[in-house]
C-alpha cells in the first residue's frame, strides 16, 4: 500500500487554550484507524520538539480513545501567562492550528476515507 506524507490539517480537528503559562491542545481523529495512527506518530516528544522555538516544555500527552482524541499540555508556552505576556497569541488560541502543520505518513486507503478538513477554497486544483 502506498503512503502519503500528509499534514494533520487535511483530516484532523484541533482546539487550544491556556492555563497559566501552559498551552493545552486537543487533537481529534475522524475514525478509529486514524486515531491509532496518530497515537503512534504524534508523540509527546515530537510535539515538544515541534514547538521548541516557541515553548520551553516539557510536553505531556493524554489519550482519549473514547473520543478518538489526544491531549497535549505544553509548559512554558505563553511568555509567562496571558496577563503578563508580550505575545499576540497570549492565550495560546492558535497553537492548535499550528500543530496542524505537522505531517504524518498515511496509507492511501486510509487517507481516502478521511473527510477533507480543508475549506473548499483551500483545496487547490
Amino acid at each position: 500500500m502506498p503512503t502519503h506524507t500528509v499534514q494533520l490539517r487535511r483530516f484532523c480537528m484541533a482546539r487550544s487554550g491556556d492555563k497559566g503559562d501552559a498551552v493545552d491542545i486537543s487533537l481529534f481523529a475522524p475514525d478509529e484507524a486514524t486515531f491509532q495512527l496518530l497515537r503512534e506518530a504524534v508523540t509527546a516528544d515530537r510535539v515538544n520538539g515541534f514547538f521548541a522555538d516557541m515553548a520551553k516544555g516539557p510536553t505531556k500527552r493524554y489519550e482519549l480513545p473514547n473520543l478518538l482524541a489526544l491531549k497535549f499540555v505544553v509548559q512554558g508556552a505563553l511568555g509567562g501567562g496571558a496577563a503578563g505576556s508580550l505575545r499576540s497569541d497570549n492565550l495560546g488560541k492558535a497553537y492548535g492550528a499550528n500543530l496542524l502543520h505537522m505531517t504524518v505518513e498515511m496509507p492511501a486507503d486510509l487517507l481516502a476515507q478521511c473527510p477533507d478538513m480543508r475549506h473548499p477554497d483551500s483545496r487547490g486544483p
Partner: protein, 453 residues
C-alpha cells in the same frame, strides 16, 4: 424521568447579550448561568478597583441584569453568576439599585469568602501554601506582593443560596462549572456527595460555560458548513435525575450541536482528562460517551467522580511591569525587508531615548507572527506585512514613550510605511501565581448573604 433545563448566558466579561435574551424568552430554562471570569479577568478587575474602590466586578453585569431580570423573574428562572469578580458586595449593591429602579422584587444572595488576599501572609507563615503538581516548590518565592488572591469556590455555597430561595446568586471567583453543578443539584435534589452525578454536573457546566464554543462557534471541523453563525444560539442542557444530560441550544437559533462540536469543547483547557479537579469532585472523563440524540442534540453520559481534594486552588496576581506597543504596515515591493529594517531602527531609537528594555518582541503578521518557526513562508514577495513591536519596561512612563518612536520612522525610515493607527499607550502587565491552600482554612470563612428587595 425528572429533568431540569440549564442555560448558558455568558462565557466571558463582554460576551454578547442577545443570545442570553433569546434564551430567556424562548428556551423555557429553569436556570441561567454565567461564567464571567477567565484567569485574566481578575487582573483586569484588580486594575479597575485600584482606580475606584467601588468597582472590581464585571461592569457589564448592570446592562445584563437590566435586560434579563424583567424577563426571568416572572418565569421563575433563577440566575447564577460570578460577575462579582473580586468585589461581589459592590456588584450586589449596584444590581440592587437597578432592580429598585425597575421596580423588581427579588432575593439576591451574595457569596463571599473567596478573597484571601488579607490572609496570604498568615497562610505563608503558617505553612498553608503548597505548590500545584509540577510547579516550583515555593510558589510565591521571589515574587512581589500580590495585588489580588482568590480561591476557586465550588458549588456548595451556591447550592445553599438556591436552597435559601435566591432568585439571583452572585459570587466572586468560582470554578467555571460551579454555577451549573449547583443548578443541577438544586433542581434534581442531588447530594454533592453522589460523586458520579456531581461529575456529570461538572461536565455539563464545562460544556456550557464557554457558550458558543459548544454550539458551532470556534469549531475547527467543517466550520464553513455551520449555518446561522450570525444568530448563533447558546447551549442548554436537559439534565436528568440519573446524571445523564442532553446538550441542545435555543430553539430557532443558528449554529450546530454535534458530537464533534461537543467533544471539542469537552476537552478544552482541561489538562489531565482523568483528573479534572473541582472543589466538589474530581472528574474522570475517560469513560464519557457522546451520542447524537437528534438534530442539534447530543447525549452525554459516563463521567466518573472521586471525592474532592483536601486543598483548594488560589489564583493570585502581581505586577509584572508595563508594555508599550504598536504596529505599522509596509507594502510591496520589499515589504518584509523594509519591515525588518523598521524593527532595528525602532529598537535603536527606543534605546537612544534611555528606555530600559526588559523584553523586546517583534512579530510579522502575514508572515510568522503567530505560527513562528512552523509557518510556511511564501516563495513570492509578500503584498504587505504588518510589523508589531512590544516592549516590556519597569515603569509606566517608559512604556508610554515607546509608541512615540513609531511615527517618525514614516519619514525617516524605509519607504511606504502606512497604517499608523495601531499605536497604543502603556498597559500594565500582571503575573499570575497559582497554589493550593487546605480547604479547612477557607470553607469556614465562606458566607452566603441574603438580601430581599
Amino acid at each position: 424521568m425528572k429533568s431540569v433545563r440549564i442555560g448558558a448566558a455568558q462565557a466571558f466579561y463582554g460576551d454578547k447579550l442577545k443570545p442570553a435574551i433569546d434564551m430567556a424568552r424562548n428556551a423555557k430554562v429553569d436556570y441561567l448561568c454565567f461564567d464571567c471570569l477567565a484567569e485574566l479577568t481578575l487582573a483586569i478587575l484588580q486594575k479597575d478597583r485600584q482606580k475606584n474602590p467601588a468597582l472590581g466586578y464585571t461592569r457589564d453585569v448592570i446592562p445584563v441584569m437590566k435586560a434579563l431580570l424583567p424577563i426571568c423573574l416572572p418565569q421563575g428562572i433563577r440566575l447564577i453568576t460570578n460577575a462579582g469578580g473580586i468585589h461581589p458586595e459592590a456588584a450586589a449593591e449596584a444590581i440592587a439599585k437597578v432592580a429598585q429602579e425597575l421596580g423588581l422584587k427579588l432575593k439576591i444572595a451574595t457569596v463571599v469568602g473567596d478573597d484571601v488576599l488579607p490572609r496570604l501572609n498568615a497562610f505563608k507563615s503558617q505553612g498553608h501554601v503548597t505548590a500545584m503538581l509540577g510547579a516550583p516548590s515555593d510558589p510565591l518565592g521571589g515574587l512581589p506582593p500580590m495585588t489580588f488572591a482568590n480561591v476557586y469556590l465550588g458549588a456548595r455555597p451556591i447550592l445553599e443560596a438556591l436552597h435559601a430561595g435566591a432568585d439571583l446568586v452572585l459570587t466572586g471567583r468560582t470554578t467555571d462549572t460551579a454555577q451549573y453543578l449547583a443548578a443541577a443539584a438544586h433542581g434534581l435534589g442531588w447530594s454533592l456527595d453522589d460523586l458520579d452525578k456531581a461529575a456529570q454536573g461538572v461536565i455539563a457546566g464545562h460544556l456550557l460555560e464557554c457558550t458558543a464554543q459548544a454550539t458551532g462557534g470556534n469549531f475547527s471541523g467543517a466550520w464553513w458548513e455551520v449555518e446561522g453563525l450570525e444568530n448563533l444560539g447558546y447551549p442548554i442542557a436537559d439534565v436528568y435525575e440519573d446524571g445523564s444530560f442532553v446538550v441542545g441550544k435555543t430553539p430557532g437559533s443558528g449554529g450546530l450541536v454535534s458530537v464533534d462540536t461537543i467533544k471539542e469543547q469537552l476537552l478544552y483547557e482541561i489538562h489531565d482528562p482523568s483528573n479534572f479537579i473541582s472543589p466538589d469532585v474530581i472528574v474522570d472523563m475517560t469513560g464519557i460517551r457522546l451520542e447524537q440524540a437528534g438534530p442539534d442534540r447530543v447525549k452525554v453520559s459516563g463521567a466518573k467522580g472521586r471525592a474532592g481534594p483536601p486543598t483548594l486552588k488560589v489564583v493570585a496576581g502581581y505586577p509584572a511591569g508595563f508594555v508599550g506597543e504598536g504596529r505599522v504596515v509596509y507594502t510591496w515591493p520589499d515589504a518584509l525587508p523594509k519591515a525588518k529594517k523598521f524593527e532595528s531602527l525602532l529598537r535603536k531609537a527606543i534605546e537612544d531615548d534611555g528606555i530600559k528594555i526588559q523584553e523586546f518582541r517583534a512579530e510579522y503578521f502575514g508572515v510568522n507572527a503567530i505560527h513562528e518557526g512552523n509557518a510556511k513562508l511564501p516563495s513570492d514577495e509578500l503584498p504587505e506585512v504588518v510589523v508589531r513591536v512590544a516592549v516590556r519596561t519597569a515603569t509606566e512612563r517608559e512604556a508610554q514613550r515607546v509608541g512615540r518612536h513609531f511615527p517618525p520612522l514614516g519619514i525617516a525610515g524605509p519607504p511606504h510605511l502606512t497604517g499608523l493607527s495601531g499605536i497604543s499607550g502603556a498597559r500594565e502587565l500582571m503575573g499570575v501565581a497559582s497554589f493550593l491552600v487546605p480547604r479547612e482554612q477557607i470553607e469556614p470563612h465562606v458566607q452566603v448573604r441574603m438580601q430581599a428587595l
